[in-house]
Symmetry: C2
Subunit: 248 residues, 2 copies
């Protein structure tokens, strides 16, 4: 009954999508009653599988739906006319994609799968309709958008005011927290993105990212082997963030 990438799954597969999903606490249904969650199921009409390196949507695509990641990892990026790319975020299970599209009715960035992934497709007009009826859904949706704004401000702080090693430390701590929230190991994980993509996100070149990784390893803060990372001294990493090693 399962099928190829990006092809919708049949209705049968979807019965009670949200109500059966173990992501409840991270995703849209958070804070809603059981009966409300059951109504939410009408919302999630289809799922989509996206293969590694494929686009979920592209900048300029008409906006119709937002997406909740069920399985996998994505990056979002914006590209300047001259080809410069800026990764604006890495999204994992339970996180939302596509909110950028609401403002102009077209997506303003690209969303690309970092590994084979699966998303819930949430038709936007239906979401608005349903959130006029379900207070909890409305509120949770607003929270999700607001959280994205707060996250973005954190990235600005990172890009505008932090040094290379502080940025990388902040990045690793952030990943660790998000894994923890999902019940995964806090201090050992596989990166799904390349050094180049990390660099783009952090406003650094890949060589600088690589050197920062090596430095952290020399100092015993982490161990790295390609994409496999183990955080050995999380308190020390936290200290790096709030503690300008040099100057102000």
């Amino acid at each position: 009954m399962h099928m190829k990438a990006t092809v919708p799954i049949t209705a049968a597969d979807l019965k009670s999508a949200c109500s059966q999903c173990n992501l409840l606490e991270l995703c849209l249904p958070f804070g809603m009653t059981e009966t409300e969650v059951n109504r939410l199921d009408e919302l999630v009409g289809t799922r989509r599988k996206i293969k590694r390196q494929q686009h979920l949507y592209r900048a300029g695509d008409p906006f119709e739906a937002i997406y909740a990641i069920r399985i996998g990892w994505f990056k979002t990026d914006v590209v300047l006319e001259d080809g410069r790319e800026q990764v604006t975020g890495f999204q994992m299970t339970g996180e939302m994609l596509g909110l950028d599209g609401i403002s102009t009715e077209a997506h303003s960035c690209n969303a690309i799968a970092l590994e084979d992934s699966e998303v819930c497709v949430i038709a936007y007009d239906k979401l608005e309709e349903l959130s006029r009826q379900i207070e909890g859904l409305q509120h949770q949706f607003h929270k999700v958008m607001s959280r994205e704004i707060v996250r973005d401000h954190g990235v600005m702080m990172l890009l505008g005011s932090m040094r290379a090693e502080e940025r990388l430390a902040a990045f690793l701590i952030n990943l660790s927290q998000r894994f923890t929230a999902r019940g995964f190991a806090a201090s050992e994980f596989h990166l799904r993105m390349t050094r180049d993509e990390i660099g783009s996100y952090l406003g650094l070149k890949l060589e600088t990212v690589s050197r920062a990784f090596s430095r952290f390893q020399e100092e015993g803060l982490i161990s790295v082997q390609q994409k496999h990372v183990r955080l050995l001294d999380i308190p020390a990493l936290r200290k790096i963030i709030q503690h300008p090693s040099v100057m102000r």
Copy 2:
């Protein structure tokens, strides 16, 4: 009948706040019918005057309302424990403040008036209630939040991938567009913020901002005199943004 800073105006002053306001097209009521806008007036319970350098809210303050700027300018910033400040935005007439507070029910940044200003206070619970009843309000509110997310991504691009002069050019072009949208002169305006604040926003030191201004002036792209700026060659400024002067 007028009073001191931050003291609410009496109900009498407010009659038909939104419906009388000439900011309609930029603010929340955009796209709503006349009768709907009249209902919006219940929403804007009070206005608040904020004197230059005063806080509209601080990081950590409980979140109760969002604010629409009627008159004036604000900056928002986040501050690290060690004192480093990152300006996350400059907001002008018709723009919304406080959206960051929804996610955690507390504000996550500071909002500070750059000049004597006045805002409409929009109680957030009422806004949610009313936007469950008025489709156009709901949609416009979502657009405003989404627009903020898109803007933030633009700032990330700026901070992560652009050089000092590109950043400043982008900043000036952006201001120019926002003035234009409000019916002000596109190419001549007063900056409400200091070089230091511009630098914080752009991830640069004030000296670098000052030098970039001087360079633009030498090249005949602008004329600057303290806070007074005139854009003499907007196409050239645009070119700087998309045109890495050196390398990729």
